[in-house]
Symmetry: C2
Subunit: 306 residues, 2 copies
């Protein structure tokens, strides 16, 4: 039943991360043909932004070592944005060379995670991104800036809001078109979400340049999303079937499942363009490829044999 | 990190249903001594309302056939409310005879579920509850009225709000002190929740007599709870470890896990009196008794061995 609630956006753009953020956390690499079919099926289910892969060095993310082979397989997907993650200028060259028009860089709000994940300080990582973003913009590519550990960090604990705001602004100052605020270990709660969004607004960052990226480690992703929608956010990251998650988080449960998100948005009458049945069928199919059930509550409920 | 959000209550009373609603859905009965220890541990973790058992005929719920043996085992729990479910006058007599001071009756907002679960029409079930509630009130017992299928029904589909309001008012008119609005199959979304609460208010039902009872079948329980808190609700049902669920729902995932709820409320600075670590340890222990892991995201994350 569709029952709108006051003060929520009419439409939400789902930034689907399953093919990149999900599959990069699989123990073994998924065949390129399966990835290509996954992305085609996600697009056919109505997702208009499907993060496709990462042009990071295969040594670091062997699961996505086939980016050069995969990306050309997606050339027939017209009208669907296919952003790719690039870690540095070398990755950017590879992505642009294959015709990518949307790229993403992956920053950290905390020093410890920057050090562990990027082997750099936060300042050094921003310096590394500077030419990447500049050259991407020169090439007329759209640039997303991921900002991880925006709420809590496994080593540092709670992350001060002003620290997140500082790095967020720095990413925008480099030229990023949008931010994705990541609750990488899933600890956030709704007041924290709204406070961070308000502080960003006060420091001049408009809500329409902010996406949210919640993890369901403690079951909080959807209520945090509701809080973000109430603040006016209209870009929400999610992963089909709940694939993936952060290897540094203490649980196998990771990304917000796209299906759980779509169930809520459908119920609220918020337009996404996504066909929930087709999306669920895609996640059931992908779970069969991976050999284990989806952690998404909605996928499980809708695919349950009575 | 504790970050309040505006417009939320300062304190929430959690109505813990794991020992009754959870264990009544187990395939095999849990030993009485385990149930007693479970309830003692829940109380020790700070829960002040722990629904203990059901005085329904053992033929219908053999899992709780030991109510007469269990209830006296809880006599040492001072300051903790121990409501029990009673289906009819016979059950009420048994409960009052053992000294129960809080009882609950279990109604349905839909005809189909009333017929399937109670073998009566909605009107007939209300007629059956009438002397139960009247005699409970004469005995100075507090009476909760459960109202199931408030949002969707597996046979009837979406349930009209006016229909729920009508039965809710009828239960209050019988003398129920509070209502528990159940999303028995877990299909609700936040706008539907807030609309039902508003309609109840407009028909003269004050929010402080309303509790909410959400199921996590589609991952919606916590965002629906947030919506209810934003409306002013301060009584929330939850089940330790996410035990139980409705056998008529299409998924094994049932009640909102108390731990997932407490994580959110702790983060929002909303007082519950519950010690999350002690509660999680209780659910881990109970999961060992049942021989399978808790479906609660928070229990899994907090008990994960690194």
């Amino acid at each position: 039943m569709t029952v709108p609630a006051p003060g929520l956006p009419a439409r939400v753009r789902i930034h689907e991360v399953g093919a990149r953020d999900g599959l990069q956390n699989e123990k073994t690499a998924v065949p390129t043909a399966v990835k290509a079919e996954f992305i085609h099926r996600l697009a056919a289910a109505g997702l208009t932004t499907v993060e496709a892969t990462s042009f990071v060095h295969p040594k670091w993310v062997p699961q996505l070592a086939d980016a050069e082979q995969l990306f050309p397989e997606l050339g027939d997907l017209t009208g669907v944005h296919l952003p790719v993650l690039v870690p540095n200028e070398r990755g950017l060259d590879r992505a642009l060379g294959l015709g990518a028009t949307r790229i993403a860089v992956f920053g950290s709000a905390t020093e410890t995670f920057a050090s562990r994940n990027l082997n750099r300080t936060v300042a050094e990582s921003l310096a590394m991104f500077e030419p990447v973003v500049a050259r991407a913009k020169e090439g007329r590519a759209h640039v997303r800036g991921y900002l991880s550990m925006c709420f809590g960090d496994p080593w540092e604990g709670p992350v001060p809001v002003h620290q997140v705001v500082r790095v967020a602004k720095a990413l925008l100052d480099l030229g990023c078109d949008e931010l994705s605020l990541g609750d990488t270990i899933g600890v956030a709660t709704p007041g924290h979400v709204q406070t961070l969004l308000s502080e960003l607004n006060e420091e001049g960052v408009p809500t329409d340049r902010i996406g949210v990226h919640f993890h369901d480690t403690y079951g909080q992703a959807l209520s945090n999303t509701l809080a973000a929608l109430q603040h006016g956010v209209t870009t929400v990251d999610a992963s089909a079937g709940g694939l993936g998650g952060c290897p540094y988080a203490k649980s196998a449960t990771g990304n917000l499942a796209t299906e759980d998100l779509v169930w809520m948005l459908d119920g609220l009458g918020i337009e996404t363009g996504v066909d929930l049945a087709a999306l669920t069928a895609t996640s059931v199919w992908m779970a069969e490829q991976l050999g284990r059930p989806s952690p998404s509550r909605t996928v499980r409920a809708l695919s349950h044999k009575e």
